[in-house]
């Protein structure tokens, strides 16, 4: 079990970042559902609940999700349910139970780059950015490629690019951690293929997406199969006690094909 010596509840983002940087063992507290399963010894737990970061706001060109927004809020939000076939809402709906989704936060799931994160897989398939106190604003893909540093993620920004998306995941049982997660999108006629829970964090399959982009509107089952195979070949898969690398790779290929066909069928 993790321990916390003291709590800081800053009133500003700058103050939160300052406290976080003061000591190596200081940490931001999200929903704590995953943190509690570890043995981390936290000196000062930085609690962001006074910063008003629990929101989903629809702007003209984007949707902003505050870092302290719960997965249940994402699941039930009407705006997110309508955008890109409700991709984000569908992705989080299968995570354990309502009680759990009421606790876990968007910020923690994105910032920690959890490999098993359904949310991160879906988010990477969208035109998304993150905003950090120190790091500023950047694309989600750029953020995921950066080495981890001490910072405070304040919000996720999703640009309302026109298009469709599909989410697929395989679990041993309902509500369990996923063995493989897949999100495929076609936004502004540009395809994105993302595979997560490999078991490491979600990653874009660029070569496979390029195959689909080159094909334009001539997309059939054969090309979907080829793209799925390319994606499964270009991404690294690993083994853990839930599934072997070979099993994940085989399942991913099937899920990717299914997702491509689902998106292709959308008008």
């Amino acid at each position: 079990m993790f321990t916390i010596s003291t709590i800081a509840q800053p009133d500003t983002l700058e103050a939160a970042y300052k406290v976080l940087k003061e000591k190596r063992s200081n940490a931001v507290l999200g929903g704590c559902a995953y943190l509690r399963m570890g043995t981390q010894k936290i000196h000062t737990g930085v609690d962001l609940t006074k910063l008003g970061l629990k929101y989903i706001k629809e702007q003209d060109n984007c949707i902003e999700i505050g870092a302290m927004t719960s997965f249940r809020d994402v699941e039930t939000n009407q705006v997110l349910n309508k955008y890109a076939g409700g991709l984000l809402a569908k992705a989080v709906a299968g995570i354990i139970g309502v009680q759990f989704r009421n606790a876990v936060t968007v910020g923690a799931s994105v910032f920690m780059r959890y490999g098993f994160s359904d949310f991160l897989t879906a988010l990477l398939a969208l035109d998304a950015e993150v905003e950090l106190v120190q790091g500023g604003r950047m694309t989600l893909a750029a953020f995921l490629d950066m080495p981890r540093s001490k910072d405070v993620l304040t919000k996720v920004i999703i640009h309302k690019t026109e298009g469709q998306a599909s989410y697929q995941a395989l679990r041993n049982s309902a509500g369990d951690y996923p063995l493989v997660t897949v999100a495929v999108s076609r936004l502004n006629n540009e395809w994105k293929i993302v595979v997560g829970a490999r078991p490491t964090r979600a990653k874009l399959a660029g070569r496979a997406a390029a195959l689909l982009n080159e094909a334009g509107t001539l997309l059939g089952a054969e090309l979907a199969e080829q793209a799925a195979q390319t994606a499964a070949d270009e991404l690294p898969f690993g083994s853990n006690r839930r599934a072997s690398a070979a099993y994940r790779q085989a399942v991913a290929q099937t899920l990717i094909k299914r997702a491509i066909m689902e998106v292709a069928a959308c008008k």
Binding site: G45, Q99, G175
Partner: protein, 150 residues
């Protein structure tokens, strides 16, 4: 740290440590219906309501409850009893260990979902595990309690 919370409509001021979880804090207050089960945030036994929303008390830090309304099954006793009759009639209860968390989730669902289907019910209750009943009796009880025919 000192927090002031409304527990089952009663204002209480408590001293909590920074890393105390509500499951322990509430049990220290004699609310033994709040049970520790899996301890890995997936069984739903420790379900409570925080400001009316079902939440796992095993991962909710106590200090964050400051100024909030906490409800355990003791706080919705009459409603729980009403539903318990449906459970008994359907043989949906065996050891009873998961019942408080399960019933709180059912009552939260009743408030949140309008005319739920069987699929909606099953989905809402995915986070409540029961190792005795096999869920069919519980599902029958909920459907009768909510008047779901589909």
């Amino acid at each position: 740290m000192q927090i002031t919370v409304m527990i089952n409509h009663r204002q209480v001021t408590l001293d909590v440590a920074p890393d105390d979880f509500l499951v322990d804090t509430l049990r220290q207050q004699g609310l033994y219906s709040v049970r520790r089960g899996c301890d890995t945030t997936c069984c739903g036994l420790c379900t409570i309501w925080i400001n009316g929303k079902p939440t796992l008390s095993c991962s909710a830090l106590s200090f964050r409850a400051n100024g909030k309304h906490i409800t355990t099954i003791e706080g919705v006793r009459h409603e729980a009893e009403e539903f318990a009759h449906f459970m008994a009639a359907e043989g949906a209860d065996q050891c009873g260990y998961c019942s408080p968390g399960f019933i709180l989730t059912v009552l939260a669902m009743k408030r949140e979902l309008v005319n739920p289907t069987e699929d909606d019910i099953v989905h809402y209750l995915t986070g409540n595990l029961c190792r005795c009943t096999g869920y069919q009796g519980q599902l029958r009880a909920i459907k009768k309690y909510l008047g779901v025919t589909a």
